[in-house]
Symmetry: C2
Subunit: 349 residues, 2 copies
Amino acid sequence: MKFQNNPRDPETALYTALWHACAGPLPTLPGAGQLVFYFPQGHLQQVEASSNQVIDPPRFNLPSNILCRVIHVQLRADPDTDELLAQLTLLPQPIQAQNGAEMELPTPPSPEFRLLSFSKTLTPSDTSIHGGFSVPKRHAHQCFPPLDMSMQNPKQELVAKDLHGNEWRFQHVLKGQPRRHLLIGGWRDFVVSKRLVVGDAFVFLRGENEELRVGVRRAMRPNGNATSSESSSDPPDVLANAWEAYTRTTLFTIYYKPRRCPTDFIVPFDRFMESVNMNYSIGMRFESKEALELEQKFTGSIVGIEDSDPIRWMDSKWRCLKVKWDQNETSTAHLPERVSPWQIEPDYM
Amino acid sequence: MKFQNNPRDPETALYTALWHACAGPLPTLPGAGQLVFYFPQGHLQQVEASSNQVIDPPRFNLPSNILCRVIHVQLRADPDTDELLAQLTLLPQPIQAQNGAEMELPTPPSPEFRLLSFSKTLTPSDTSIHGGFSVPKRHAHQCFPPLDMSMQNPKQELVAKDLHGNEWRFQHVLKGQPRRHLLIGGWRDFVVSKRLVVGDAFVFLRGENEELRVGVRRAMRPNGNATSSESSSDPPDVLANAWEAYTRTTLFTIYYKPRRCPTDFIVPFDRFMESVNMNYSIGMRFESKEALELEQKFTGSIVGIEDSDPIRWMDSKWRCLKVKWDQNETSTAHLPERVSPWQIEPDYM
DNA sequence: TTGTTGGCTAATGGCCGACAA
DNA sequence: TTGTCGGCCATTAGCCAACAA
């Protein structure tokens, strides 16, 4: 299950689809072959955040961004915690080639698979020890194999695999007054094993050949409170790898945990160039792009343009914009004070 | 709980003691200030084993061993799985200084703490849902606070912290016919939370001030079968760090999971020098040193002396000995075919 | 349509001493 | 001395439909 090779293989396609469904709509992950900019500054900050260490890195002369080609992407999930992990292998690109978007490799055609899926955020009733899981009607009709409606209490067993290939069995019944679809008998095991709590989401996929998959998308913890596992995959001296790779034009590897901290230190070439061409100025109004990894769009205005770390990373675009968010019915307290140009777009309203 | 600063602090001393008790008697871990040899080859092999990837590393010109000073040691435990992790920060030593053992820093005097401890491997009864935990009599007498024997059914509540500072409560009772010490009421929670199974060991410590600690030493899985969490802390291109640190004499960091794979790529200076001075030859009989991380000693004889990877790591002492183990009442099938000189000592029997 | 609740029953959690290795 | 077992409660897991939002 660990290596995804041929994307045309239905098994692999299902795995990838499930991984992305569990990761949520938020993170944009480049594919193998794509050109991206790597921001060591952002990478370091992620490592610091996840390891709670302040790192005074050696004085590498890394530029603030490095054009790289994505050589390989490996999507994984921790067998214990189901935490998602993307491993990106990057190859720095020669400087002189840095201004040709035409060198973009053709994205391998992603074959179309018939794929049905839904996800539902768990309610207190769903997670409570008391009952089962209530399946919204349209989801049951769209994604579940059809029930034998000739029975007066239709039921069937659903057998689905998770990202690790483990099998989970659920009784799918249609009963109650009024009628509703329920997952019982096995649901509890799933909740306990996956340690689901209110706010986490249940993810369900049905691929071709009636293959069923289940997964979990955990609630975003407001701001990385200490539940986070310590096993950060990146060592504190992570920049040494980048430096080595940069100077010798060799491969290096970075990790990305989509449900952990917002990552924007890998930026697709096109998106970056777009943001470079955008003329942002103080006072400009904007709205957040999906790269900010928010569930909804927010608007605000730019209040400053300056290096976020002028000493170590001069002239870096990374989080170079100080912003003020508009007040909103939902709280904007969790929104960052600094964003990168590629995380926003001008608000033409 | 994450940073251990002053080893004289009783809190810290208890933490360290508990960590080592959970790690088991097997691994030797150097302390801060010590000189060690670092074997990139062994490091790489551990990474390969734990990530199930074969890595074709860039062609660094790393020597097969690098003298380093241990700058910092940080002992941690994963909050989810309790997996132990030692993070070693190493500083490569200048070449010209490589032949002076006198440069060994004085090991900081490890203050003596009164410390009582025991561990017990769990039986089926201990882990079964049916009952509690049976405490061997001498351990209860040695390590538990004394019971009030005037009661005809003496009992007390033990409150103990684990490596993360979480509190666990147990009812310690003396009852049954014949009398025995039992841990009930709370024991089950502990077993479930820590996911203990038969063969795992319960670790108990009592420090000064009657401070109690509990921990877990998991059974060694025969040969890294796939239960292992994927989140290896070392990225595949881990050698880039070492190379960078080696050429520029800067710090680098390695990780060591004592319950995962046998590590011998960090070897204390003295032990290595000893093994260099040992004249081993084909046919020589030996017995295993504790560095082989075995529960007991085994004997065998040397059948070959050769580079284990003559192409990439010429003249490396790492696992340069091919050995044949003596037959034994216990199986020798799990013993490695290759060992390093510092893992064995001549058998003078 | 779907979240929550109280009720009911079956299952199991969990403590006990007997017994035996 | 200590591991395992059968017995025996008390607790809870888990399904159900009523009800309400």
